[in-house]
């Protein structure tokens, strides 16, 4: 049985919360996506099937709305609101990202809905929280990540280049992760005999507490981190960890050698590649390999020999990375226990043998097109209550009749 089988979630279609609905739906919740007449604008986002725009061809829509049923309700009409109240009476969770005040004006806010569903869990996701006037102002994923902290930490050593926002709606995703955590928590509370409740999720706050040391270096000490190319923003600038490999792809050199065994492995690798003659520092690798007992890391920067050994370890990694393809570098490092990684593009990662072997690629049948397509799979594996894409994203109003006919008057 799916973990959330039988839990009904109403999702009022809005871009920032689509992923939260997917996470619940793929775990078996009965997610009913409510769209306005004409449909949610995200239905018309690219990329499109065969690059041809059209109804039900948006891959963006396909991804974010798997395993959901879709209905159309006009909440601006009394009939639509009546149907919504009937639907709410059957629901465990309402997930929405409306502008603060809108549901109250419609008579469909938490205070109204608990009259028809006393144990309802109502989760509202807004840019700055339900009670913050700034939530009335427009926001996008970019502005959430810029104002919320992540962007300050991302970019390049060269600060004449703008800081960078990463791809993939990660500001929305982070808010969605917190929305799902909130819903699961509220469900557990209810399963323990507790009541339903209202949960206020702020996208801005979610970004703010997803910045690692940028926040706590300030909170603890009043220090400000500075962005660096391909590695952690830091108060004290650090050495490069991103290397362009022989095939033009990049790798992250990870944690450099720290034990005699690791220095020995690096030395062996340098020799195997015939690089010893052009790498005079190999002598320090050898000293590292023959070191008695563990290294006292506090001597780094104070003891010349220890410092030279560690520096040779980092230099050897960079030298090797530049001479072999990124994938070979990744595998070679991992075989000797060094956590390095290839910097894959998403499709390269998706096609990697590891993820294929784990069954990460899943087929989803599109009955309307008579074809199946490969989708990204489970973020976690719960064998007793598995993740599963139970159906393709809904066409506009596909389940309106089915859902409304099933409701009590």
């Amino acid at each position: 049985m799916s973990a959330l089988a039988g839990i009904r979630v109403i999702e009022l279609a809005r871009e920032p919360i689509a992923f939260a609905g997917k996470l619940l739906a793929d775990m078996g919740a009965d997610v009913i996506l409510v769209e306005p007449p004409g449909g949610d604008p995200c239905r018309r986002y690219p990329p499109f099937l065969d690059d041809q725009p059209g109804d039900d061809r948006s891959l963006y829509w396909w991804h974010y709305h798997t395993s959901k049923r879709g209905i159309v309700l006009d909440l601006d009409s009394e009939a639509g609101r009546r149907d919504f109240r009937r639907l709410a009476a059957s629901a465990d969770v309402l997930l929405e990202a409306e502008a603060p005040g809108r549901l109250r004006e419609l008579g469909l806010d938490y205070a109204n809905l608990v009259e028809v569903r006393p144990d309802l869990i109502h989760v509202a996701v807004t840019p700055f929280g339900r009670n913050d006037p700034k939530s009335q102002l427009p926001a996008t994923d970019l502005t959430v990540l810029a104002g919320g902290g992540p962007v300050w930490s991302c970019g390049y050593d060269d600060h004449s280049l703008p800081p960078v926002r990463g791809l993939g709606n990660q500001g929305y995703n982070t808010g969605c992760h917190y929305a799902v955590l909130s819903i699961l928590t509220a469900l557990l509370h209810r399963l323990s005999g507790g009541r339903g409740q209202f949960v206020d999720v702020s996208l801005h706050a979610a970004a703010n507490v997803t910045t690692e040391a940028a926040s706590y270096a300030w909170l603890v000490k009043g220090d400000t981190v500075q962005r660096q190319t391909g590695r952690h923003a830091a108060v004290q600038l650090t050495g490069e960890t991103q290397v362009r490999c022989a095939d033009g792809r990049y790798a992250n050199t990870g944690v450099p050698p720290r034990t005699p065994k690791e220095f020995g492995a690096m030395l062996g690798w340098v020799r195997e590649l015939g690089l010893e003659d052009e790498f005079p520092e190999a002598v320090f690798l050898e000293m590292g390999a023959n070191w008695e007992g563990p290294f006292d890391l506090s001597l780094l920067g104070r003891d010349d020999t220890v410092t030279a050994i560690f520096s040779a370890g980092r230099d050897a990694l960079k030298l090797i990375a530049g001479r072999i393809p990124a994938y070979d570098f990744f595998i070679g490092c991992q075989r000797v226990g060094l956590p390095a990684g290839i910097i894959y593009s998403p499709e390269e990662a998706f096609e990697d043998e590891h993820f294929k072997a784990r069954g990460f690629q899943v087929d989803v049948h599109h009955d309307d097109l008579g074809r199946s397509f490969r989708y990204p799979g489970a973020p976690y594996r719960l064998p007793a209550s598995p993740w599963r894409i139970s159906r393709r994203a809904p066409r506009l109003g596909e389940h309106t009749e089915e859902v409304l006919n099933s409701l009590a008057d």
Binding site: P162, G168, A233, Q334, I343
Partner: protein
Amino acid sequence: MHGALSKYRICDFTGQLAGAGATKWLAALGAEVIRIEDPVRQGRWDILRGIEPFVDERRGIDLGGGFNNHNTEKYGITLNLRTDKAKEILRELIAKSDAVTENFAAGVLASWGFDYEAMKAIRPDIVYVSNCGFGHTGPYHRFKTWGPIVQAISGITFTSALPGQPPAGWGYSYMDHTGGYYMAMAIMLALIHRERTGEGQWVDLACTEAGLTLNGPALLDWTVNGRPWRQDVQPSSNRSQWPPMAPHGIYPCAGDDEWLAIACRSDADWQSLGALAGQDWCRDPAWAQMTNRLADQDRLDERIAEWTREHDKFELARALLDTGVPAAAVQKPGERVDHDPSTSGFGLWPTATHTQMGRVRVDGLPVHFSETDWHIERGGPCLGEHTEEVLTRVLGMTGDEVAALREEGVI
């Protein structure tokens, strides 16, 4: 105090951020999270225990600021699992716990004799959640990772870049935070399943897979249309692909390293921006349509930057927002923590009291529950701070028994 998760006890081996971040959520919502650490190595497996930032000149295994941030409201005990007595204590603790959580490299817990089957024999409905980079099966299951490696492997680093530049990646362990979120979800999903069926399970969480799910549209563009994200000229991740928006980017403002994000979603947004900026290029009829602006983004971005450079980032963000255009100053840590009413007003930086560090502000949770809100008052535990309390209260030992265990090097 009574919290949403107060009935649950977690036997917690997590550390760093990818694991500790997960149980931080549970503890703030009332779960009794008992961290188990190694007294011999002073809990150093969690490197954050003893590293900066520090509140003052003191240094030590109990004084890491990051550790305190990620471990609020948890209990900390020490068990030397090289000894049989410590293993027996762990068995007793598992028997009284709802979940066992860890983010070691694959196989570490099993090597101590505590694989899922062994734990299930102790408590049949135990929930076990393991979190590692590549999961417990597949060709790379022995490989090691930390946040930046997970991000590199899963495509998250590559897709954060400007054209003509190497990947910028994420300047922090985004996937440690996010891996922690998925771990907390997995724990609660498994607890919900147990509440409804009585059945426990082992959840195998691979952080790289969680990361791969975060670029769904790019992956479908690959599987459906065969379009790779790796292209001769990398798209700028500061621009908006889905949906297309222009201008959409991060622009310089007056001052040193000051920046402003602007997103024009529509032609109407562009008109509003133009009315505010009042520049000649705003009236260029060719740029009135989104399609034309999209085709000419390099030139467009140059003009916008010339304009924004003359302005204060906060003032211009406010002016744009007031005219209906999404905009935000790129905030530095001090600006968003100490001068932003939208974080302080949300109660986002609670002060926790740490036994040695004293009162320190930490990351709160970005949500509020009307009935069972989160609660963060106690700082992260010092090494073994609650050993005696937990062994007596949870396992019913006497103070003398605990003293003897300490004498024998078991705790």
